[in-house]
């Protein structure tokens, strides 16, 4: 139906910065004073993986509680989920666990990326995040830190998703092109190396 190769969904508590992250990825811009998303917004971007074009469709969902019961519409058959929390408010990680549980129950094939946002606002290295890293390992998820303000880490996540898609497609055994989170497990933490999202 659509010309999207990989469906990606962003989940997480309200105000952690999902919309800013998507805005940075799609348009390379940082908007201050973003207003609360209504329902979900869809945007798409073409990425290049070794000369191959991959279209990534991103669903940016609203974080308000009232949408939770309907979130299934948005993450259904997603190949990757960016479950976001705010690095300047580690309390927001609690919600991550709820989302991960729900995804694992309903979308087994969906790769889970646990994404810390607003890394420009804190000393990332000093954060007490051992438990979180353990948790990410345990659920076979990837961990990234990002800053929509500086662009740090954002391109890397989507590049990773796109590459995983291409690798899967080239593997003859699985034509569905889905990412298998069990393979190529990689837990990454700490600051990313300043790739800008041009």
């Amino acid at each position: 139906m659509s010309k999207v190769d990989v469906k990606v969904v962003l989940l997480g508590k309200h105000s952690v910065g999902k919309t800013c992250l998507v805005e940075r990825f799609l348009r390379g811009k940082f908007k201050e004073n973003t207003v609360a998303t209504v329902g979900a917004a869809f945007g798409a971007k073409k990425m290049d993986v070794n000369g191959r074009e991959v279209t990534i469709g991103v669903w940016d969902t609203a974080g308000q509680d009232r949408y939770e019961s309907m979130s299934r519409i948005y993450y259904r058959s997603a190949k990757a989920a960016l479950v976001c929390y705010d690095l300047t408010d580690l309390q927001s990680f609690e919600k991550v666990k709820l989302w991960v549980d729900e995804l694992q129950q309903n979308e087994e094939e969906c790769a889970i990326y646990i994404v810390g946002t607003k890394s420009d606002g804190v000393d990332v290295g000093a954060l007490p995040r051992r438990d979180m890293q353990e948790y990410a390992k345990q659920i076979n998820g990837f961990m990234f830190d990002t800053s929509a303000k500086s662009g740090d880490g954002i391109e890397e996540i989507f590049q990773h998703i796109a590459e995983a898609h291409v690798n899967k497609e080239q593997a003859p055994s699985d034509k569905s092109g889905r990412i298998n989170p069990g393979e190529g497990r990689r837990t990454k933490s700490g600051g990313c190396c300043g790739g800008s999202a041009e």
Partner: protein, 518 residues
Amino acid sequence: MSGLVDLPADDLQDPFGEEVHIKRKSNATFIDSDTDDSNLARDLKDSLVLDENKDLNVSSVIESDTAAEEEDRRKRNSSFVEQPLPPEIEETFGRKYSHEDSSHPNWVKHKKHVFALSLAGKPIYSRYGDEQNLAPFMGALTAMVSFVQVMDDNLRYVVAGAHRFAFLVRGSIILVSVSRTDEPTAQITSQLNYIYSQIISILTAGVNQIFSRKPNFDLRSLLGGADRFIDSLNTLMDHDFSFLLNSIHCLKLPPQTRASIAQVLQQAQHTDLLYSIMIAGHQLINLVRPKKYVLQPADLHLVINFVHASTALRNGNENWTPLCLPKFNDTGFLHAYVCFIAPDVCLLLLSTKQECFFELSSCKGMITQGLNVKGAGSLGPNFSLMDDILKAYENPDYSVSELGVPGLLHFVYRSKGTLQYTCPRFETPYNTSKEQKRLYRMYQRVHRRTHGLKLAHKVYYQVSQLETFLGWVTAGFELFAVFGPLDTKSMCIKGCNDILKWIKNEENSIMIINSPVW
């Protein structure tokens, strides 16, 4: 020369401004503050008169319950008033007056407060101030409502000096307006109804089930971020005729253009598509619907408010969001594909299916393609339907001078058959927002005179210092026209006939006469 004609006594302002009347559903009961046995009335008189130099103090009404709380609140806020918030902190609150509460000197000065609370007294919404900090005040409002409910009756309004407290209980939600805007109570109540519909539109009537299971439920946890929909509705209802007349305002377009747009919308049909709606600003461009399901004006108003209250929808992306249209079905959600196809032109595709985003997205593709075909518009071979829309939106409606009616300053015409209305744009002397608001309030009063339950005049004529009003209501239309203060009655009547003639000629461009269906 100047003077009010035909002013029924029951709506006259109380000249003393001190007496308190409680008006209940059964008109028989008036509690007057002068009667000795009426403790509530005396308490109200003490507490509810909102002079600007008096603090709003309702604690006496619910003394026993909240005395401690009240004391606590005062302590908390006394320092607050002395040290106003620095602007940068105020910004982080998001809403303009959110730092105020009932003890704040500015809070009582707002002309029109609107509150929503649960039957159990939990705050849901306040137009000004943070609803959480207003909990004691909301408690007082609940006490007033339940005091009358105990007597098996409903509290409708309370007049306290210049202020009018209007109450409406819908389901498990109490809506209250406290205003000194001189608006007729029936219209305030209708506005409160709209606010209830707005809450339902966000959450569906399922909220009442939540409350019946858990009367103490804090609805704000579900309404998070929805304040701005209600705020924007409140602002709109203070100047938009759509709400007063319960009718739709269409963008003025050449008839051929509107028909072509209807065709473009109709061609982009899909089995899951229920309504296709195109709006420019707050005006309807066109709307395609199933033959059986008329879209009620009240639902369309909520859709338009929804689109405009949320700047997040203008993100350049395609949006997919649940939306309940209470008149259509208040128990479930429709799913709305929302996309701004030009800066102020919005396309909404509503469906009952939650999984058809991409189907509707391709419908949108067809529609934008159709709208951008060169030569399809009325402006020439190099212009498209979209150019027509943008031109019409840039210069909306028409000037009153186009009608060539001597003395005519402004008018509003409502067609009862199509539930649409038309009016010229505001021009001198109504070029300031203050004058526009005054005019709007005058229209509200004239409207009331022609729609009151007891005193509904077919024709109503009123001369005041600044203008002459003529209201004319028939089976087919309603016309409210404003002329200069010196214009004679016969001149005004002739003027009204000329307006009707002009509208008959222009009908096809100012209204949607044949509503397209599929």
